[in-house]
Symmetry: C2
Subunit: 370 residues, 2 copies
């Protein structure tokens, strides 16, 4: 059990930005809201999943919607709380724990806001170990947690509850349709799970991972060391490519930012190029001859070559000097049932076999159990 | 209090078809489903609104979605029941009465199905006195019944509940967005109201009106009399035009069937033409020189010149011989607060003043209180 203070919020936001693999929304807004609540005397407690009782009533809270809209619209900050309270009234029970749905991007810090608002502890775990463009792409639903009852809320307090939906993809479609009507962003509360279900389905200790990545980056920056190398030292994975951003093609399709970017190699990669496709998040990194260096669900993270600041698909632009990191996905995303939902074929690459990156996911070497 | 038998279902379906003013969906599917339940021993009871206790818990049930999809998709027939039961669980209370949301079209008979399934009585009233393209265009919400909590359900049993939405137009947008995701049609249960609210806001005795219109048509057909004149004798209003359908332009826009049709006059109207615009329902009937003969919320009903069978905007086609009836809207649709929601301006005719048709709405002459 540990307390999240302002410094931890900063570290987690940095780590979550990198684990966002180009998408996931901006963690800074949630960080600022949580930080304000801390300054007003609130507390945020993180508990290890092993410490969650089997009969705990856990809910995942966060925001859904296009990342761009999220930044502009999710200003009130209590949408996930309103959704959670509506779900409690619907269930006739109170939740005992919160858990992030995705550690990558904005949904890493939004549960902190709800924790500060309610005093509920946040479980050190999440359902993705990274970010994904759709909410059903999580280990909770992949491993059998029922997606409903579920609730979403908008800044005006409007609530939509969903029930009796057995498949998470249908919930995602229904909830996204209402979210669009709500102005493009909503706070969500789902799925509901017991402590036992959480421990069986969540990817453990990913808040700790984000915190350690952020700490490594900040320490390296202060010490004038290499922050990119510091990330890899903590989080495993490899430098896939270093280069300058060339062409970026970006289009909005069905609420998603889709596109491709081309990097022109620098340093050890001079004279070579790398192509990266994205759908909110980076999906595949390949050479112009077609060789795949990394593919979803492995994490493909663009970071600024100097500062290791995450370069999201929203802000990536011509001329930026970046390093592309390839971080192996957590083991729970690499099972056959997970790959059916988050593997290359699920993202429109039926002919790309999933060849796992070597390395580990989690804090420090050898944590292949993560 | 009266019982609906098979013959009454037939009469109500005919009357509701005419009161659908070109839209409202097809009443025959609900009629067939209710008829099947009657044959299995179920009963359907209709009660006068004056007989509903003030503390009754009333809910409107029916189907939403595009009429075309409705015919093909609403096959299970228990979607409104599933929505109603979900709403009861959410409220923690059981409903005591059902009321149609709109007497025009399919939502006249769908509550009969739920009545047969549950044994709940149906109130002889509705929220429109006709059909309108959007669910918030009802006297319940116009006169202050809160639109939520509300529920919709699809044929797979998926449920969406909406809460804390104060304006019916927002509920309409949210519910329609989910309905589209549900395949284009859903069963609904909303709004919830007390008996006192029902009596204050509903348009009374419209099931009786539909029944009497249907009876008049059937009697006239059997007697080889003029069914069109029989409709007018019961329901008031006037023959606006008799003619042959010429051009029909129809397009799907935002889930609505919009378009225009042109009638070439026959008989007493030979040599003249009439233009009718529709959005699911007929909105305005005018002469080519711009003179408006009738405009929403007054009822503009196309019926077959021989049989008085309603000719909906779905089936209207070149060459049909029709009579256009103009039936005055019920008084509750003609107040300033109602005209703001269902007047010409609300349908995109800001420059058309509402000039009420003369005549009455309801059964028999002189019922201007309806």
């Amino acid at each position: 059990m540990w307390s999240v203070d302002d410094a931890a919020l900063e570290r987690i936001a940095i780590g979550a930005g990198i684990l966002g693999t180009g998408g996931g929304g901006n963690p800074y807004l949630g960080r600022l809201m949580a930080s304000r609540l801390l300054a007003q005397g609130a507390a945020i407690t993180v508990v290890d999943p092993d410490a969650v009782p089997d009969d705990a009533l856990v809910v995942s809270v966060g925001g859904m919607g296009s990342p761009t809209v999220g930044i502009e619209r999710l200003q009130r900050g209590d949408e996930p709380l309103v959704a959670m309270r509506a779900l409690e009234r619907h269930l006739g029970r109170r939740f005992t724990h919160l858990v992030p749905g995705e550690i990558g991007g904005g949904n890493s810090t939004r549960p902190m806001v709800v924790a500060a608002q309610t005093g509920l502890p946040v479980v050190d775990a999440d359902g993705m170990g990274r970010a994904f463009p759709e909410l059903q792409m999580d280990t909770f639903s992949i491993y059998g947690v029922r997606p409903t009852p579920a609730a979403i809320a908008d800044p005006r307090g409007h609530v939509a509850l969903f029930d009796a939906i057995a498949d998470a993809a249908t919930l995602e479609r229904h909830a996204r349709a209402v979210t669009i009507q709500m102005g493009g962003a909503s706070g969500y509360a789902f799925p509901v799970m017991t402590g036992a279900e959480l421990k069986r389905t969540a990817i453990p200790r990913t808040l700790t991972l984000a915190d350690r990545i952020g700490a490594a980056v900040l320490t390296a920056r202060t010490a004038h060391a290499d922050p990119v190398a510091a990330v890899l030292a903590v989080a495993g994975g490899q430098r896939l490519f270093a280069g300058k951003v060339g062409d970026v093609r970006r289009r909005l399709e069905g609420g998603f930012a889709r596109g491709e970017l081309r990097l022109e190699g620098t340093g050890e990669h001079a004279g070579r190029a790398l192509l990266v496709d994205f759908q909110n998040e980076n999906l595949i990194a390949r050479l112009p001859d077609g060789d795949v260096l990394a593919v979803v669900p492995d994490l493909i993270c663009l970071v600024d070559a100097e500062t290791a600041e995450p370069v999201t698909t929203e802000v990536v632009r011509y001329g930026l000097r970046v390093v592309v990191l390839g971080i192996p996905a957590p083991a729970m995303l690499k099972t056959p049932e997970a790959l059916a939902v988050v593997g290359p074929a699920a993202f429109g690459y039926p002919d790309v076999p999933y060849a796992p990156l070597s390395g580990w996911y989690g804090v420090g070497a050898g944590r292949s159990d993560w």
